[in-house]
């Protein structure tokens, strides 16, 4: 037996190489200076280097736009789906870097480490979006997750942060273990680790006749559901979101979801495409349950981060709808919604970060009370984001839902489209509660002066009364909100972006 080393297309691997190099530089360079990397200069250096790395990677990815290639003997595939999802993750990371400026967590974790871990996670996501083989799939999902476990716990002086990290580690490991176990079954049943090979291996047998493969697929789906916080595997989401440093929460909410959905799509629409009829109903039921559970869970949440966590669960349910139909339109809608979700969610999280540092209320809804009068530049982005997440017209959220519903109706899943409509209706109750707190007179709840809730102990998070005016918080909020409105009125560029992604698979 002769062994042929795979051909390395370094050009197409360059985004991954750039990210890896970035991780090393960001980690090591600040150590060269004095003070062992904890000084302000070290943090500024790593911030700048991280942004530079992200920009380089984005450039290298765009270079390969519309030019799909298989890499490393088909273990990876750099196509427009991978590129679009990676770009979403990179954009989310760039926002996170801005939101992390002066973030206590970033300072406590030491200069380079925080940013290096962030880049490491982005590396995992970029890899995951390209993964076309069970092995790269698993390696990528671990590369993505392990830095996040640590990042969640970087706010060392806050108990909730440590708790969140531990919780995420345990639940995440469980998810990964289930995933790996399922992969083993799948390999046993189909005789291949390659997605295309799996499709060929189980193609003639049929899904229901082969319990080995069926169990494997079920476990892989469960593992992915953990990562994308699909109900009933979502319970960790609100807890982890609440405890993690807020910039990291925003990163997890957008980027992890995008990357995990990318592989979700690739796995189900490539490896399991021939058996679509068998898994579609199961995923549709999961999506419907997720929409209901997420939206109902978010009602009555006082912590904005928990609220956004549950809303993220519900949104994952909507997005899963794009996968259920197993069609090109479905993938288009899914990528479009993820891109829109980037803008909608980051606008909200930027404001939450700003208010968290500015007031003593932490992420409690009281932190945004009267914001319309006090800080219109923050109130507008949060308002726009809430309306968009609820699917109101003239925002990207409306077009995203329109796209998803169109795909669902076309794929004969009209009942799931009705679920999306009903879910959006429930969601109004909590999204508008936030809007009402900002613009309308406070109702029955009396504003109390006691600060300590949801992880805001004064010594851990020093209050910066000017945080609501800092450019690195206001600019991301405004930028994201502008994106929400712009793509709500002129969605065609984003539609074309998403159509490229869909065309890569079908």
């Amino acid at each position: 037996m002769t062994f042929h080393a795979p051909v390395m297309d370094y050009g197409a691997l360059s985004p991954l190489i750039a990210l890896t190099a970035g991780v090393c530089f960001v980690l090591l360079l600040p150590l060269l200076g004095r003070g062992r990397g904890s000084s302000r200069i070290a943090i500024q250096t790593s911030t700048a280097l991280t942004l530079l790395t992200l920009a380089t990677t984005a450039g290298l990815l765009i270079w390969h736009w519309n030019d799909p290639v298989e890499l490393v003997s088909g273990a990876l595939r750099l196509d427009d789906l991978a590129i679009s999802i990676s770009l979403i993750a990179i954009a989310a990371a760039a926002f996170t870097v801005l939101l992390s400026i002066r973030e206590p967590a970033a300072e406590q974790a030491g200069g380079g480490e925080y940013h290096a871990l962030l880049l490491g996670s982005v590396l995992g996501m970029t890899l995951l979006a390209q993964a076309q083989n069970l092995v790269t799939f698993f390696v990528a999902i671990e590369t993505l997750s392990i830095p996040l476990y640590i990042l969640c716990a970087t706010n060392l002086r806050r108990e909730q942060s440590l708790e969140s990290g531990l919780k995420y580690l345990i639940v995440g490991s469980l998810g990964s273990a289930t995933l790996l176990y399922g992969m083993a079954f799948l390999y046993g049943g189909s005789g291949s680790t390659d997605f295309v090979g799996i499709a060929a291996g189980i193609g003639h047998a049929g899904l229901l006749s082969d319990p080995l493969v069926l169990v494997g697929i079920g476990m892989v789906a469960v593992g992915l559901a953990f990562k994308t916080s699909i109900a009933p595997f979502h319970q960790w989401t609100p807890d982890v979101y609440e405890g993690a440093p807020t910039p990291i929460t925003s990163f997890m909410a957008v980027a992890t979801k995008a990357a995990a959905f990318a592989v979700f799509v690739r796995f189900f629409d490539v490896a399991l495409a021939p058996e679509a009829g068998d898994w579609q109903p199961a995923l549709a039921v999961l999506a419907a349950a997720t929409i209901v559970i997420g939206n109902v869970g978010a009602l009555g949440q006082d912590s904005l981060k928990r609220l956004l966590g549950y809303s993220g669960v519900a949104q994952a349910g909507y997005i899963l709808g794009g996968l259920v139909v197993a069609s090109e339109a479905g993938v288009n809608a899914l990528v479009f919604y993820l891109a829109g979700y980037l803008f909608m969610n980051l606008a909200a999280f930027s404001v939450v970060v700003a208010r968290e540092r500015e007031t003593s209320f932490g992420d409690d809804i009281r932190a945004v009370r009267g914001l319309g009068r006090e800080r219109p530049l923050l109130a507008w982005p949060l308002t726009i984001s809430m309306l968009a997440l609820a699917g109101m017209p003239a925002t990207v959220g409306f077009i995203g839902k329109l796209y998803l519903i169109e795909a669902l109706v076309e794929g004969d899943y009209t009942w799931l489209a009705v679920f999306i409509a009903v879910g959006s209706m429930i969601s109004l109750a909590y999204y508008l509660r936030v809007v009402a707190a900002m613009w309308m007179r406070p109702g029955g709840e009396s504003a109390s002066a006691t600060p300590a809730i949801a992880g805001a102990s004064p010594e851990a998070d020093p209050i910066d009364p000017e945080a609501g005016r800092r450019w690195y918080l206001v600019a991301p909020a405004l930028l994201a909100a502008a994106g929400v409105i712009f793509f709500g009125i002129i969605p065609q560029p984003l539609v074309e972006f998403a159509q490229h992604a869909g065309a890569a698979l079908f």
């Binding site: 109101m392 169109e406 613009w439 539609v495």
Partner: protein, 517 residues
């Protein structure tokens, strides 16, 4: 032209943000006036013989088959003018008064105008749904942030949230319904995806699909009106709303629902319309009876207005669902009439509330004493509300009842009781506020010049229409005929026959079979 009609209000609203606060009200009034000017110019150039005119049609999201397509025809041209007119009145009335955060208030007012005009002129189904939903956002802010909190009830924010959830239940389902209509039509016809209402109306989808999509649309429109059983949001929202905004809201927004039936439901789902005609008629009658009874038991003047709108919208719905041209003609005329009546009514309520400091009928009275002009204006509005012979409302109701008599005589008999009851509640409102003994605490003041400038033109329009209702009837008739004809055409009947659901009544209103009952 139609583009400038649509976007002028929003443009003025956005520019107004850069002006000093004290001018923003006047600027907004100017914006509304310019919009009215454009609307009148469009009406002047309107050719009642031609179909859709002043059209704009550009591809908006080609990837999703959505077009930016606008147009005027007999169905919407007067509603557009009504919208522009009432907005000018409401904005001017608000501008005469001190508003908190005026920049935002007037921006929201003008955004609401753009959205409402958009819903009226949209000729693309999805664009219609978009504007229909968009209308709610500014009203949510206007009601919630500038409304009054009740001590014994929900806060303004809670009341407006209730309104929004109610109305969106319908309109989100409508979004699904709209998409389903277009996709089913494109799959059946084998052509590319389009949401154009005219295109979709050419080949209605299969009767089976029509049946459920019909209810998705009907839910949205009936909640908006609001119709009986779906009116739960109305009392709280009406009590919370600031009055100038409520005048517009009640005058225009309810009509969007009725308009939606004529524009979308009848042409696109003809066989479902025929099939469910009686169900909707029952809802309409229930609205008439319930609304009238509630209107003469309420003591809050806003709710008298609110419940009378429920009853009036019941009439309009009944007129549309007579599925005859005269009934629908009357419905269109009555939409304009009701808007012209209810908006001044709420402005008068605002004036009365300013004088008496209360919105409770029991605490008012005798205000006509030193205010003959106000009393005269109010009397005209009242007489028009109760559809006094000689008013345009009389002609509208006459057409509606005439259509209903010929279509479904039983329903017409019940509906007639609503006419009688409207006399009771309208006169009761007038009498209790303007006549009776005057409580000592209430000053009887004449209407101010500025408020008179708002009110008098609206009342003049009522009088003008009473003298010359043909202005509307003549122009709307061809479009209404087309809309109603869809349900009469052979396709609708043939589809019904194919599904085994023949109409249960023949022309002589006698039962012919038992299948559908």
């Amino acid at each position: 032209m139609i583009n400038s009609l649509l976007w002028t209000p929003l443009a003025f609203g956005l520019l107004g943000l850069f002006l000093p606060k004290r001018y923003s009200g006047w600027w907004a009034t100017l914006g509304a006036a310019v919009t009215l000017g454009i609307a009148i110019a469009l009406l002047a150039g309107f050719d009642s013989g031609a179909g859709l005119q002043d059209t704009v049609d550009v591809s908006w999201i080609p990837g999703l088959g959505v077009d930016y397509s606008l147009g005027l025809d007999g169905l919407n041209v007067f509603l557009v003018v009504l919208t522009a007119l009432l907005w000018l009145g409401g904005t001017a009335f608000a501008a005469f008064r001190e508003q908190e955060r005026p920049h935002l208030f007037f921006l929201m007012m003008l955004l609401a105008e753009t959205a409402t005009l958009g819903a009226f002129v949209a000729q693309d189904l999805l664009l219609f749904v978009l504007f229909f939903d968009l209308m709610l956002i500014p009203f949510y802010f206007l009601f919630g942030a500038w409304g009054t909190d009740r001590e014994d009830g929900p806060t303004a924010a809670a009341a407006t949230l209730k309104m929004l959830v109610y109305t969106l239940v319908g309109s989100l389902l409508m979004l699904v319904g709209a998409i389903a209509t277009a996709i089913i039509a494109s799959q059946d016809g084998g052509h590319h995806l389009t949401f154009s209402i005219a295109e979709l109306a050419k080949h209605p989808i299969a009767a089976g699909s029509q049946r459920w999509i019909f209810w998705f649309f009907a839910a949205a429109f009936l909640v908006k009106m609001p119709a009986f059983l779906l009116h739960g949001w109305m009392p709280d929202a009406y009590r919370a709303a600031p009055l100038p905004v409520l005048a517009i809201f009640s005058g225009v927004l309810a009509k969007v629902g009725a308009y939606g039936f004529l524009r979308v439901v009848l042409p696109l789902f003809p066989s479902a319309t025929v099939q469910f005609q009686e169900v909707v008629l029952v809802i309409a009658l229930a609205s008439i009876l319930y609304g009238s009874v509630m209107a003469f038991t309420q003591t809050n003047v806003r709710l008298v207005g609110g419940y009378s709108s429920v009853a009036q919208l019941g009439f309009i719905t009944a007129g549309i669902f007579a599925l005859r041209a005269d009934g629908a003609d009357g419905a269109v005329l009555q939409m304009v009439n009701h808007g012209l009546v209810v908006a001044p009514l709420f402005i008068i309520v605002a004036l009365l509330a300013e004088r008496s400091g209360s919105e409770d009928l029991r605490e008012m009275g005798g205000m006509a004493m030193r205010a003959p002009v106000l009393a005269a204006l109010f009397l005209i509005v009242t007489l028009a509300t109760l559809a006094m012979p000689g008013s345009a409302n009389f002609i509208g109701e006459f057409y509606i009842l005439n259509g209903l008599f010929q279509a479904k005589i039983v329903y017409a008999f019940i509906a007639i009781s609503g006419v009688a009851m409207s006399a009771y509640y309208a006169l009761r409102l007038y009498q209790r506020t303007m006549h009776n003994r005057r409580p000592d605490t209430i000053p009887s003041r004449e209407i101010g010049l500025r408020d008179g400038l708002v009110l008098a033109p609206l009342v003049l329009c009522i009088v003008g229409l009473a003298l010359y209702p043909q202005l509307i009837l003549h122009r709307t008739d061809p479009a209404v005929q087309r809309s109603v004809a869809a349900t009469k055409g052979p396709p609708a009947q043939a589809q019904l026959a194919a599904t085994g659901l023949k109409p249960t009544y023949n022309v002589a209103n006698r039962p012919v079979g038992g299948e559908g009952r």
